[in-house]
Symmetry: C2
Subunit: 312 residues, 2 copies
């Protein structure tokens, strides 16, 4: 297993024992059937749940710029869940762990009323200064985002029969089934000196507001600049929503939103390019003002979004 | 908060960030209403659940001899659970965290069908050699246990109306409501050079067998030597069980079972005494034989236990 060299004791003892590096980043992410996915309703597979639960936790490490180390899976399994499904869940998480250099070092399995997956991930850095929080954005910074947005929200609408997705169905569904945590990009961005960073798990409208409040600054985001995943504009049109709606509020994108000084712009772009090629889009700037986010329409007018409920 | 000096970033960012020591021990423990406690059925309070969930996870660190560092609470809250109950749960866990020098550094809260508490604890050591696994028992070692056994199983019988507990009710109930993880004792035992250690969460009959199998050795445990908590023998008599039954198979004791060389006997006793005063009882020895445990009755005969089901 990649990354397993650091494991001194794995599953089978009272606790896992791991060789540490000087600074440790930890995040816990829990998903429950009926709230975060719909396995029982037939809208998600066990493999998808395993992948997404680990991806979601790893995305938090990505947003700190930490190197992923170990993951611990706590599974609550309902009576009706077959052993094959439980195995598919664990296999899928293991595959993502292997792909990201993460060792699954332990966990717990209990009986539960509904499938519950709680993932603890532990990441590492050699120095606190290698990591980036949400709280460092400075007035004058540019606001950037990796990759493209909106695909999971659009895929959900297709899966629920609210839209057809036209020719983009498979590509959209893949983004919701197997999101890729931006670990390499997160470390590259931290190394390139971004001031603040967050992962886009709730939609950029919400997450940029978190970042703004933590930094005591106002992020002005131009909605027309949001990088839409292929097919998202078409699904929005089918749903009668503005093209930017799912990209701004759909959530589950697991891209990284960050703030960097304007003079650092090309260094940041080069760092993300060298990390994988999902690219960077500059979507706004940091200004003085009431901490949070301001979403701007095409004419520079402030826009209210979020009347549309995204049911996960 | 004691222990919080190591926290570089606490709750409120994408991940907690902690100053590490060279070796990291991690354990995850999940408890679900209806399986591990009965909140909805009125047999446990939210405060008890918070305490027990953290105590159970910390007990795993104790069994490694690790110093407790941080805890992360993932809570699945059902609709019917009031905010006051959720707060009581967290306050109770926080009190135990403070008492054990553990910092609650993060977590997650989601909606769930039944109250679910998944606790990840992170402990630390300066060197791998400071920690003790289950796998080091040697033929000729003595088998010891800290404190006394059987109180939680007896308390459960009292709570369910299967026994009266006579004059020991309150003392018994306290042991199930607020078990004390033996963190200081675990570190003292590791420092005193015990060869193998495990916490007694499933009953010593089961846990000694785990230790024996991990060490490829046979633990001979004399049932008459098991240290019974006050009132346990009386409850066993009320239930028509041998006096040792609840101590051997009741579980949830969170004492430590360990193996140490005979010449190390007084050093081990002194270490546990200096750590708190729960004391050590020597209950058997390690011999060559089929790996596992052999439970011996008063005449040296092998005894089968465990026909009695302990419902948690």
């Amino acid at each position: 297993m990649p990354g397993a060299a650091q494991i001194l004791r794995g599953p089978g003892d009272d606790a896992a024992v791991v060789r540490a590096r000087p600074v440790c980043a930890v995040s816990v992410d829990t998903m429950v059937d009926g709230t975060h996915f719909r396995l029982r309703a037939g809208e998600a597979s066990a493999a998808e749940v395993g992948h997404r639960a680990l991806a979601s936790a790893l995305s938090d490490l990505a947003a700190m710029g930490a190197q992923s180390g170990e993951a611990y899976l706590a599974l609550g399994l309902p009576e009706g869940l077959g052993e094959d499904q439980a195995l598919a869940l664990v296999r899928s998480a293991s595959a993502l762990a292997a792909a990201t250099g993460t060792a699954i070092a332990g966990g717990d399995v209990v009986a539960a009323a509904a499938l519950t997956v709680s993932v603890t991930v532990v990441g590492w850095a050699d120095d606190e200064s290698e990591l980036v929080g949400r709280d460092g954005a400075l007035v004058g910074d540019l606001v950037g985002v990796t990759g493209t947005l909106g695909a999971p929200g659009a895929a959900l609408a297709v899966r629920e029969g609210r839209a057809t997705g036209a020719g983009s169905i498979e590509r959209l569904l893949q983004r919701v089934r197997a999101p890729v945590p931006r670990l390499r990009e997160g470390r590259a961005l931290a190394g390139a000196g971004v001031h603040a960073m967050i992962d886009v798990s709730d939609g950029i409208a919400t997450d940029a507001a978190h970042l703004g409040r933590a930094s005591a600054a106002l992020l002005r985001v131009e909605l027309a600049r949001l990088p839409l995943a292929g097919g998202v504009a078409e699904v929005c049109a089918e749903l009668g929503l503005p093209a930017c709606e799912l990209a701004a509020t759909g959530g589950e994108d697991y891209e990284l939103c960050f703030c960097a000084s304007a003079e650092n712009r090309s260094r940041v772009e080069a760092a993300v390019d060298s990390a994988g090629g999902v690219g960077v889009t500059w979507i706004g700037e940091v200004v003085a003002g009431a901490p949070g986010v301001s979403l701007l329409g095409e004419r520079g007018n402030e826009v209210e979004l979020g009347g549309f409920e995204h049911r996960w």
